[in-house]
């Protein structure tokens, strides 16, 4: 580890972040302004899923999701509202945006131009890491090659035109949330960054000096799990590996451009619905991994809340997590010391081990030709699904202890969930109508000829390989909509559906329960004249695939014939699969909060096809108790939540539904 030249007495605290989404541009604007008045200087913007996936708010697939997990942006008109009264030149704006990152940056630049602000002074970050979208997060649109081209073009545009803009952020956070081990997190993120730099080099747009600066603009977004000693070692390994790859492979001579700059969100996958109060302790311990070691300390930290597995956090929940950070940074003596672990043989050995294993994996991926082939062949996704299946198997068998979930499950009722709202945040879903009215107004009032010409110019650039940045900015100015921008590029690049990674996977579970279930399924097969079939479906834009993957793997493990076609299908597509395939059950997995709408659409679809008698529907995901009752009243046969972690229990209840027919 390299030590900064002169250590200040006391380390400066990391940037304390909170991340939140709001239902409309107007509501978000009010909140930003009140925060800014209180002295906050940065904005962190969460967009709703339609904006992230490139659909207008009135697209049928968008409707259930409008304004749910973030703000909907349909056109530059919405950006005017979102940033009303907020000086862009003075803001540091971070956007969690990927598939449509170029579009949102174009909107931001267009806004500055229209307002007469200095574009070159803009500051901020677009997350813009599509590799982890294919692997874990799910808001990709185009095939890998086209996606990487867009990212590269943004680096090329930003370096000179908006030098303080981070064109992308390499994310390993989401990989751990999808099951990645520390070695996989290290290897996949670094292989991703290396492949991006290889591409920038190959495109030849930068001279050597510019290339070094571009390397210096690459920053990371990392996860920190509950095994906090190992996690701390992982951060040190990240720093050392990045330093050596940038020096050796890319010849970066300036030390500051080789520094591993990273922000953190701590692990949420391990946060439980059972005894949710325990999550507070988990969050503290996870924070230690990225703060303890000064030389590997994060630059920014954001924390989930105790009720992570129940709903979006309420303002109080966020405040409680914020206080944790403040106590750690300002009450404890953590920041007073130089690095506590330099010279520790134990830490050194662990770091070395992680580095060795990660290097081997990085070289494997680079040997395939980089991350694009490793995505296309399904190599990386398969590895993650395997890790996730192993994790779930270990929790099921008790080999991995999760307090309150599979051990010490008896406890007193929690007063935290005893309030009127049950500790759950309710989304205001009335905002959608006003938003769609605004979109219609934009479409009706714009200069149609200019908008059409802008779209044509965008497609032409997409075809001839020239940069899409300026054509996108012109689209923004011409009031082209989010759906139109993405739609035009879909036409040229096509739409991508990555590998699901579940082929050939199995659980590590054996023994009597599994055998008995297999026997029951064989018996069912004889009685029904066919092996029972389940369609596992992810309706809508929700990208949380872990649950669906684990259920699909479990179902095959016990003997179901399984159809799982990945995320982002319409309810109609799922119904059609089930009908054509003669399925006995549809198992829909919804974690985005839109389960009521989506379940309704699936049931209606089945009724329209006259298939509701033949096909049972079960639903799983983040489903508050009141909604579970509503779903069952609607005709859903069973509802599952994260508290149902025992996979064999889940399989048994599905078998029971079939046996009862």
């Amino acid at each position: 580890m390299s030590t900064p030249a002169a250590l200040p007495e006391r380390d400066r605290p990391w940037i304390i972040r909170t991340y939140a989404g709001h239902s409309s541009a107007k509501a978000s604007n009010e909140l930003y302004r009140s925060n800014l008045e209180k002295g906050q200087t940065g904005l962190s913007i969460a967009f709703d899923l339609p904006t992230q996936c490139g659909y207008d708010s009135d697209d049928p697939i968008a409707r259930p999701e409008v304004g749910k997990v973030g703000v909907p942006i349909n056109s530059l008109d919405d950006f005017h509202v979102l940033f009303d009264g907020i000086p862009l030149e003075k803001m540091n704006t971070s956007m969690t945006i990927n598939g449509t990152a170029m579009w949102l940056l174009a909107l931001y630049v267009a806004l500055a131009r229209e307002r007469g602000e200095d574009e070159s002074k803009l500051q901020g970050t677009t997350q813009n890491d599509l590799i982890k979208e294919y692997l874990a997060r799910g808001t990709y649109i185009f095939p890998p090659e086209a996606s990487m081209r867009l990212i590269a073009e943004m680096y090329e545009y930003c370096l000179e035109a908006i030098p303080k803009w981070n064109a992308s952020n390499i994310c390993s956070y989401h990989l751990q949330e999808a099951g990645a081990t520390p070695v996989q997190e290290l290897a996949f993120a670094l292989a991703n960054a290396i492949s991006l730099l290889d591409l920038l080099k190959e495109r030849g747009h930068f001279d050597d000096e510019q290339f070094e600066r571009a390397v210096g603009r690459i920053s990371f977004f990392v996860n920190a799990g509950i095994r906090f000693v190992e996690e701390m070692c992982k951060m040190r390994a990240f720093g050392e590996l990045w330093d050596s790859y940038t020096a050796d492979r890319f010849g970066v001579t300036e030390e500051k451009y080789r520094r591993f700059r990273y922000g953190v969100q701590v692990n949420s996958l391990g946060l439980t619905e059972a005894q949710p109060e325990n999550n507070a302790w988990r969050i503290i311990l996870e924070s230690l991994g990225v703060t303890l070691s000064r030389n590997a300390r994060c630059r920014a930290l954001q924390l989930p809340a105790w009720n992570e597995a129940m709903s979006l956090p309420r303002p109080w929940d966020q405040q409680w997590s914020l206080r944790l950070q403040q106590i750690l940074a300002y009450e404890t003596d953590l920041l007073e010391y130089p690095d506590l672990f330099d010279g520790s043989p134990v830490v050194q050995a662990k770091v070395q081990e992680l580095m060795d294993e990660a290097t081997a994996e990085i070289e494997t991926i680079l040997g395939m030709g980089g991350v694009i082939p490793a995505i296309e062949s399904g190599y990386m996704k398969t590895a993650l699904v395997r890790s996730m299946s192993e994790r779930m198997s270990a929790i099921n068998s008790g080999d991995q202890i999760v307090v309150g979930l599979n051990k010490w499950t008896e406890g007193l009722p929690s007063p935290l969930t005893a309030g009127d709202d049950g500790g759950i945040f309710k989304v205001d879903d009335k905002a959608a109508e006003a938003i769609i009215a605004g979109l219609e107004h934009t479409r009706a009032s714009r200069d149609t000829a200019r908008a059409e010409a802008a779209i044509e110019a965008l497609k032409a650039a997409a075809r001839d390989g020239s940069s899409l940045m300026e054509p996108s900015i012109e689209c923004a100015l011409a009031r082209v909509t989010t759906g139109e921008w993405a739609g035009a590029l879909r036409e040229v690049f096509g739409e991508y559906r990555p590998a699901t990674g579940i082929e050939g996977q199995q659980l590590g579970l054996t023994g009597d329960r599994v055998e008995v279930l297999r026997e029951r399924i064989n018996t069912l097969a004889e009685q029904m004249g066919h092996r029972p079939r389940i369609v596992v479906g992810k309706p809508g834009l929700d990208g949380h695939s872990n649950g669906a993957e684990v259920i699909a793997v479990s179902a095959r493990h016990v003997g179901f014939d399984v159809i799982y076609s990945g995320i982002r299908l319409s309810p109609d597509e799922i119904v059609q699969s089930a009908v054509e395939e003669g399925a006995d059950v549809i198992g829909a997995s919804v974690l985005s909060g839109s389960h009521i709408d989506l379940a309704k659409q699936i049931l209606e679809g089945l009724r329209e096809q006259d298939a509701d008698e033949d096909i049972a529907v079960v639903v799983g995901g983040i489903i508050p108790p009141a909604d579970a009752t509503e779903l069952e009243a609607m005709g859903i046969k069973r509802v599952f939540t994260p508290a149902d972690y025992e996979l064999m229990d889940i399989m048994e209840s599905i078998v029971e539904i079939l046996e009862a027919r």
Partner: protein
Amino acid sequence: MTLDAARALNKHAVSKLVSVFEDTRPQAAGQRAEILDALGPARSTVIGITGTPGAGKSSLVARLVPAMLAESDLSVAVLAVDPASHVSGGALLGDRTRTRFATGEKRAFFRSQSNAAELGGLAPTTFQVTRLLKRLFDVVIVETVGIGQSELDIRYLADHVYLVLQPLGGDEIQFLKAGIIEIPDSFILNKCDDPAANQSYYQLRSSLSLARPFDEEVPPIYRTSARTGEGVDEVATAMLAVQPRHSDAEREEYFFGRWVEDEWGATGRRYMAGRELLAGGFDAAQAQFGPGIVEWLGKVE
């Protein structure tokens, strides 16, 4: 009612009939005979698509079907077979994952089957289901698990067999695996977006003329990319032009033999030899086979 709806290609109605042809219970045989009777004679061609796993069969089907629908007003059914787990018996029916046909398009129908952990490239009921689909759709496409032991099955089932290959690195001539190269009527070299494809194409051409000296002319080799769509239209046109090759009687005789082998092994074959079991039709023959052989065995012993 269901029959009329199925004739109109209502998806649920078709699907329910397919389930009857997949039904493993003995009483289903009678139902099948009735349905076939009511539907009248078969009218369509069966296209076989085979090739090693990963060659791009499913991805090609996903491209070919929309191309066939666009080019004609014919209807197309796909029957895709996936391998099952030997341990649990369950299968991951992954071929469907590659396809995404428009919802509500009645002219296209997709059904997955599991090979039920048997060695062949087809499911035990694939033949049965094609008997039905040939009476409902104009073209039936069957995607096999992959090239393997009983590739002869697809040869009997299909009026034209396409072998899908992918470009190879170096100069290994894997195409020539004995037995495999003799089955297909046409070859498709897929993944031609890969630079290695050109070389593979010429290798394949020269090895074909060596390996199949009995051919009057070198069989067609199509070059496609399921990724870019290159060459897909040409194959679609060719598939639409395929003419029936086998009579139903020939097919029934072959698949009856296969069924007997699966269910009764060598003993079944011996009993079958010299007997005119199929005179009363395929379904009746299946229904009567069990009692017949049991009686025969009693006498033999």
